[in-house]
């Protein structure tokens, strides 16, 4: 048993560290650190920098632009990115539709989409959830009826995150109503400019139009935009489960946030003394750090197991989702508590211009909206309760 990285892994970590420090644009780094929202341009800029380096989609098969890294190296890459305050790549492109096209797409789809997904030339959004289909996703009702060379799609999608930025949607649609609900679903791609697609912004608790609802009214989708086989869409969507295991807990991001909170605590005064000397605050942070350390080791054990091609149902994987979201939430709660009354003003990022070195009480201006928004971490991608259902069944056999 040796819990250290190998010399090769350490060399890679240094390479990644140098790369992130040298290439992450300072304004993007500052926004990330202050918890401000990135613009579409910010996302595109950063992903193209990564793509130029060949690091935009590390875990894709090598022939489609992946790096061939094992899970440990990918973990190191993610951790180093968070350490430098680098944003995540657009998950819809890289962790969702991309891997599905790699695995199940036609040659034409691969040739057309994969380079554009990597370079964020096309921005994809997800059309899975519906007003009546959340945790019970397979009950979705959006209907696609084949007419010649096209599907005619009708229905309504909800929680279309980034839909207002999106060029394309990957959607689950019902193509057969006469079978078990999972067996009548297909995986379609379509251009958001297709007539009949209408996006209405849904403002989330943080005050941002992060997500949307999307109305689909007789949307004509060419049959060649069907991924894989008709009625097999549920399998393709499920194929993604656990795909992002190595990075899902975002240990490095929470570490960076705790580090920042400690630096800010030195400048926030309570009863004449800095918060960094306040026993209650220090103990609260220390308790988060303990959970985070356990999570980090758990994460390392999971990626070490993946590297060895270990068990697919490592129970620790589900720990990463549940604990990862809880610890992220705890760290953001803590930031808001640190901000105190500074958390109250609503103009998001109002102090941005004054922040010279991106540290100070101004750094806390987004802490309340970030706290609100952090509640989604235990909801999306299968709520933590759904995760518990899965573990109870798959791991504990209940």
């Amino acid at each position: 048993m040796d819990l250290r990285f190998t010399p090769e892994e350490i060399a890679f970590r240094n390479e990644a560290r140098t790369f992130f420090e040298a290439t992450l644009p300072p304004d993007i780094r500052r926004k990330q650190m202050l918890g401000q929202r990135l613009t579409r341009d910010d996302m595109v800029t950063w992903q193209r920098i990564l793509n130029k380096k060949g690091w935009a989609c590390p875990m894709w098969p090598k022939e489609y632009g992946g790096t061939g890294w094992d899970a440990v190296k990918y973990f190191i890459f993610k951790e180093e990115g968070y350490r430098a305050w680098a944003p995540d790549v657009l998950g819809h492109n890289i962790q969702n539709v991309g891997p599905v096209i790699c695995a199940f797409g036609s040659d034409e789809q691969k040739a057309f989409f994969l380079p554009k997904l990597r370079n964020l030339d096309l921005w994809f959004c997800q059309g899975f959830s519906e007003p009546g289909s959340g945790s019970d996703l397979a009950s979705l009702k959006t209907r696609a009826v084949r007419e010649g060379d096209h599907y005619i799609v009708n229905g309504q999608k909800l929680w279309t995150s980034g839909g207002h930025h999106a060029d394309w949607m990957y959607a689950l649609v019902r193509t057969d109503t006469g079978v078990k609900k999972q067996a009548g679903i297909s995986y379609l791609l379509f251009d958001m400019k297709t007539p009949g697609v209408q996006v209405r912004p849904v403002v989330t608790l943080d005050g941002h139009p992060y997500t949307n609802e999307t109305f689909l009214d007789n949307v004509k989708v060419p049959v060649k935009n069907l991924v894989g086989e008709e009625n097999k869409g549920w399998n393709y969507a499920k194929f993604l489960l656990g795909n992002e295991r190595a990075g899902i807990a975002r240990v490095g991001l929470t570490k960076a946030r705790v580090r920042l909170a400690k630096a800010l605590a030195e400048r926030v005064y309570v009863d004449g003394a800095p918060m960094s000397e306040n026993r209650q605050f220090r103990e609260k942070l220390a308790a988060i750090e303990v959970e985070l350390k356990a999570l980090e080791i758990t994460n390392m054990m999971v990626v070490a197991g993946m590297k060895k091609g270990g068990a697919k149902h490592d129970p620790r994987t589900s720990v990463l989702k549940i604990k990862g979201s809880e610890v992220q939430q705890a760290s953001l709660e803590c930031q808001m508590e640190l901000a105190g009354p500074d958390a109250m003003a609503r103009q998001v990022g109002f102090m941005e211009a004054k922040v010279a070195d991106a540290i100070g009480r101004e750094g806390m201006a987004n802490s309340a909206p970030n706290y609100y928004f952090s509640r989604v971490l235990s909801i999306y991608g299968g709520s933590n309760e759904i995760q518990r259902n899965i573990i109870a069944k798959a791991v504990l056999g209940l």
Partner: protein, 386 residues
């Protein structure tokens, strides 16, 4: 990065697991508690024959030459079986003091005997007022020619009742809670002036309160330098916490397994109670806590020999905080999910709950270690970048 056990470690694990599976059923354990010592001398000899009692000692002293990972393997197995024998007191605490601070002569004299099962030891350090402060020592050590004379009282000395030899801390100089001025002394448990009052502890283990009245100690029986014992005591306490963290994980896994089994077999309202979602989610949270605790036991094994004193101390604080919290959670839920049957001593799950409660107290509870970690600045340094 590699979390797999080596071939030797796997063999060690297999041999201890096999022995305990044969000899440590809940019923068998009950008979051992009724022996005069409260544990089995015969099994102790078997541990010795399998080489378990020399695991952390160098091969120079007839040892297995194992490190923290080997200790983790053993303690996890002991935790799962609720082992009663004085391994922790003799090998981890007493043996740990000798291993860390003993002279060649002292190691030669003591470590092989421990390994052979012929010497039981105990660490007589804590006192009525010391609580979790390792520097709080009132027992006095006064120079008498070249010898020393010890006077004072030690309390809750784990397995102090059966020990052949004790390592006693005494204050040579300074105030009651000064880190400077503490000495460690090897004392024969039957030496004139030593009185022991043995008793069972909550978890069916044994302890003793020990009175020392004018106990003479030869100069050669001091461990380490005069007045400089505090860092040794700290190191031993850290090793103890490393060992306890693995024992705790062994116990938590058992509590989880026993509880899940119960959820599958206990029927109410015509169905297994494990079909109820409220109980399923609780069981999953027990699993999450157990897995996180296992990670912290790994972290303890990784950090207990860390050379940087401050980093090592903080890491061990963090481990004890987690073990304390997760052990309490898993223990409480294992009782709750069992319902009434969880409340009786006739059923095994409660015994794990009790032991994990005692583990939380040993060598500093959750609040103590959280406060220490927070005081020391936590695990992550402040900064806007790394």
């Amino acid at each position: 990065m590699d979390f797999d056990l080596s071939e030797e470690q796997r063999m060690l694990k297999e041999s201890v697991d096999r022995l305990l599976e044969d000899r440590y059923s809940f019923e068998q354990r009950k008979t051992y508690t009724k022996a005069p010592d409260g544990w089995s001398r015969e099994l102790w000899q078997q541990y010795a024959d399998l080489g378990l009692l020399s695991v952390p000692f160098d091969s120079k002293y007839g040892g297995f030459g194992g490190g923290p990972v080997e200790t983790m393997i053993l303690m996890e197995a002991f935790g799962a079986a609720l082992v009663l024998e004085p391994y922790f007191a003799t090998v981890t605490l007493f043996g740990g003091c000798v291993r860390i601070a003993g002279t060649e002569a002292q190691k030669d004299a003591l470590l092989p005997k421990i390994g052979e099962g012929k010497l039981l030891g105990a660490f007589a350090h804590s006192e009525r007022n010391s609580r979790y402060d390792l520097a709080d020592v009132q027992t006095t050590a006064k120079k008498d020619g070249s010898d020393w004379v010890l006077d004072g009282e030690k309390t809750v000395v784990i397995h102090g009742d059966c020990a052949d030899k004790l390592i006693v801390s005494g204050r040579i100089s300074g105030g009651q809670r000064d880190k400077d001025g503490i000495g460690l002394f090897l004392v024969d448990a039957k030496a004139p002036g030593v009185t022991r009052k043995g008793y069972p502890t909550q978890d069916s283990l044994r302890a003793a309160d020990i009175t020392l009245k004018g106990v003479k100690v030869a100069a050669g029986d001091m461990l380490g330098e005069s007045g400089k014992a505090f860092p040794i005591i700290e190191r031993v306490a850290q090793s103890a916490i490393q060992a306890l963290s693995a024992e705790a994980v062994g116990g938590m896994q058992e509590m989880l397994d026993i509880t899940v089994e119960y959820l599958k077999t206990r029927h109410q309202f015509g169905v297994p109670i494990g079909s109820f979602q409220a109980l399923q989610h609780r069981a999953v949270d027990m699993l999450v806590a157990t897995e996180q605790a296992r990670s912290m036991a790994m972290f303890a094994a990784m950090m207990v020999d860390e050379k940087d004193d401050a980093e090592r101390a903080k890491a061990i604080n963090a481990v004890k905080v987690h073990i304390g919290k997760s052990g309490r959670y898993v223990g409480q839920q294992s009782i709750q999910l069992h319902g009434g049957i969880g409340m009786t001593l006739e059923y095994k799950v409660g015994h794990y709950f009790i032991r994990s409660t005692m583990i939380e107290i040993l060598f500093g509870d959750t609040d103590h270690h959280l406060a220490a970690l927070a005081r020391a600045g936590g695990l992550i340094a402040p900064g806007t970048t790394a």
